[in-house]
């Protein structure tokens, strides 16, 4: 259930991320479109503005043309009336201005066919007017006042002026139309700019909202997943704790079972031993009485009694040996259960020094067996010193016990390190352990090879119990007739869980 919900949550996580990427890309795209459109529209609006300005300028110039013509006409009239040559120079100046203005008009109107035609026509008319005016001035200057007046009196000048006015107004109309057109173009450009920007802002806001929502959903999903992982971790921890507690309880039960059994077995043993001794005492009394009775009956031959006494002796011998053995076994179980219930106190232990000290206490034993113990520099532990001492004392003692008599004994202690653990190797060149016995030797009351050494088969069982309680493990490699290596793997730091049972 736990793994299923975790598995369901995890693959869902990339989807919000993908969505977020899409939203981000869309946001950037919208921003780019808005920027490009804005630049384009701003440019267009500026062009439109320029065109409007040009039109306005042209209109202005057209008005200027009309007023210049009027001014030229009034200068001509002044000269005709007074003959003052100042009017002529004023007239010439005005003419120069007029031709300049006309040039502007033609340039400004060059953009369309119709306007160019109008401008050309205006230029022709203005030229004609100019010629007419200049003609009268020439006549007057030559003294032909009448001729000049006659020219003025004709409707020709009036007609030209009217035509010019018509053309100018036509041009003005055209320009006005153009102006309107350009104004509306400029306004629409500006409107488009506004609309585009507003649309862009809206799009950005929408995208931002979507992104926000997606992010929120994503982080919600993450939070949820996180919570689920936490919950499943908690459940897992709880289960581990429960299992550990179950194991602890089972272990405690076994320990207290061993304790109770060994205690309760002792009680009948006391009786068996006690009454056996009482029987022995009775036997002595019985045989004394038998001897007395035999004497009284005058029977000389005591051989029958002796046979009986021997049978008694044999029976008692077996009973007593068995009782002694049983007592030792019960004590061994009791001791083992005590070891199992002993509270561990983790302290820093210098293993090299400790093992050297153990070897030193065995100096006598080693000398007897012509054996040597070498201890390499081995890593220290934080563990229970007493338990470690018992483990290594037992292992070294065992190694010494089962050395081959014909070879000088060599027992080497070394170590291998792994993360969190140290494996200590106790290597001997003893008689070795038969492959079939490599598991059995760790069992209680089991021994391997020729049973020619004292012992109950407790040492290695004891060692294994201690190693396991220290959170480690023990294995062995061996070759018959070559030697044995015991490998004790222990955690660098002993963690003391709740110790069960009483301290015995």
């Amino acid at each position: 259930m736990v793994s299923a919900s975790t598995a369901a949550t995890l693959p869902a996580a990339p989807r919000p991320l993908l969505n977020q990427a899409i939203v981000m890309a869309a946001g950037f795209a919208v921003l780019i479109i808005i920027s490009v459109t804005s630049v384009f529209l701003v440019n267009r609006a500026r062009d439109d503005g320029d065109l409007v300005a040009q039109t306005l300028l042209l209109e202005n110039t057209l008005a200027n043309v009309q007023s210049l013509l009027l001014r030229a006409e009034s200068s001509q009239r002044g000269f005709l009336l007074t003959g003052d040559s100042n009017y002529v120079s004023a007239f010439d100046g005005t003419m120069a201005d007029l031709s300049m203005a006309l040039q502007h008009v033609r340039a400004g109107a060059a953009t369309s066919e119709r306007r160019r035609a109008l401008a050309d026509r205006l230029a022709v008319l203005v030229q004609a007017k100019q010629d007419e005016l200049r003609h009268t001035i020439t006549l007057r200057r030559s003294g032909d006042d009448m001729g000049a007046l006659a020219v003025v009196r004709t409707d020709r000048g009036e007609e030209l002026t009217r035509d010019i006015t018509v053309v100018v107004s036509q041009m003005q109309q055209a320009e006005q139309a153009l102006l309107d057109e350009r104004w509306s173009a400029s306004r629409s450009s500006n409107l488009w700019l506004l609309v585009t920007n507003l649309a862009g802002v809206t799009a950005i806001i929408v995208i931002a909202a979507v992104a926000l929502r997606l992010t929120q959903r994503g982080s919600d999903a993450l939070r949820k997943a996180h919570r689920e992982v936490e919950t499943s971790n908690l459940v897992l921890e709880q289960r581990v704790a429960e299992r550990t507690a179950d194991l602890q309880e089972a272990n405690n039960e076994i320990q207290s079972f061993a304790y109770i059994v060994s205690h309760d077995l002792r009680s009948p043993l006391v009786n068996i031993m006690g009454f056996t001794s009482e029987l022995e005492a009775l036997r002595t009394d019985l045989f004394d009485r038998l001897a007395r009775l035999r004497e009284r009956a005058g029977e000389e031959d005591a051989s029958e009694d002796e046979v009986l006494d021997k049978d008694f002796e044999e029976a008692f011998g077996f009973i007593k040996a068995s009782i002694t053995k049983m007592d030792r076994l019960i004590n061994a179980i009791l001791e083992l259960s005590r070891q199992g219930r002993k509270e561990f106190v983790p302290t820093a232990v210098n293993m090299t020094e400790m093992v050297e000290a153990i070897a030193a206490t065995m100096a006598h034993q080693l000398m007897d067996r012509n054996a040597k113990v070498t201890v390499a520099q081995i890593p220290p532990l934080i563990s229970d010193r007493l338990a470690l001492e018992q483990i290594f004392t037992n292992l070294i003692d065992n190694a010494v016990k089962y050395l081959r008599p014909d070879v000088p004994g060599l027992i080497e202690i070394s170590a291998r390190e792994t993360v969190g653990y140290v494996t200590y190797l106790v290597r001997d060149n003893g008689r070795g352990i038969d492959p079939g016995d490599r598991v059995r030797v760790f069992e209680l009351f089991r021994r391997s090879g020729p049973q020619d050494r004292p012992g109950e088969g407790i040492g290695l069982a004891h060692v294994r119990t201690l190693v396991r309680r220290l959170g480690g493990g023990i294995t062995l490699e061996s070759e018959l007739g070559v030697g044995t290596v015991f490998k004790v793997t222990l955690p660098r730091r002993l963690v003391v869980e709740g110790n069960g049972g009483r301290d015995a």
């Binding site: 002792r266 009786n271 031993m273 006690g274 019960i330 301290d503 015995a504």
Partner: protein, 149 residues
């Protein structure tokens, strides 16, 4: 050796194992102790005798009692009996000798804390056992036992 403990001192032996009871009695006798030994094989009957029908222990007022107590009993623990004796107004000065197979350190401490006068572990080896009980008998023959109030 009849010059030991005054004749009026009664030994209350609370021991569920009949064989042990017999062996203990035999060896105490061998030490020359001739006092009356009252055997009880369970806690209930022993408590009934010690504290009487009213449960106050007044029934034993004026008597000199020595209690030989095994801790492993079928119906109650010897520790419980020890506790009740030492808390009782009439019986608290009666010597209690704990004679049991348990050599648990904690148990020994607890018994002395509760006021046990002697704690002896029964040796499995009979020679040692009989020696221990005989010495206990010799000890009984020299100690003074006060009368219950």
């Amino acid at each position: 050796m009849g010059d030991g403990m005054p004749e009026h001192v009664t030994i209350i032996m609370i021991e569920d194992d009949a064989g042990h009871a017999r062996l203990i009695e035999k060896n105490i006798r061998r030490a020359g102790v001739l006092n009356e030994i009252l055997p009880f094989t369970d806690g209930t009957s022993a408590i009934a005798y010690l504290f009487g029908p009213d449960g106050t222990g007044a029934v034993n007022a004026g008597k000199a009692l020595l209690v030989l107590l095994d801790l492993n009993l079928p119906d109650t623990t010897g520790v419980n009996i020890l506790k009740r004796i030492k808390e009782n107004e009439h019986l608290k000065r009666s010597p209690v000798v704990v004679l049991t197979t348990t050599d648990d350190k904690v148990e020994i401490q607890r018994c002395y804390d509760l006021g046990a006068n002697v704690y002896v572990t029964k040796p499995v080896n009979y020679e040692n056992f009989s020696n221990a009980v005989r010495q206990l008998g010799l000890f009984f023959s020299v100690i003074q036992v006060p009368e219950a109030k």
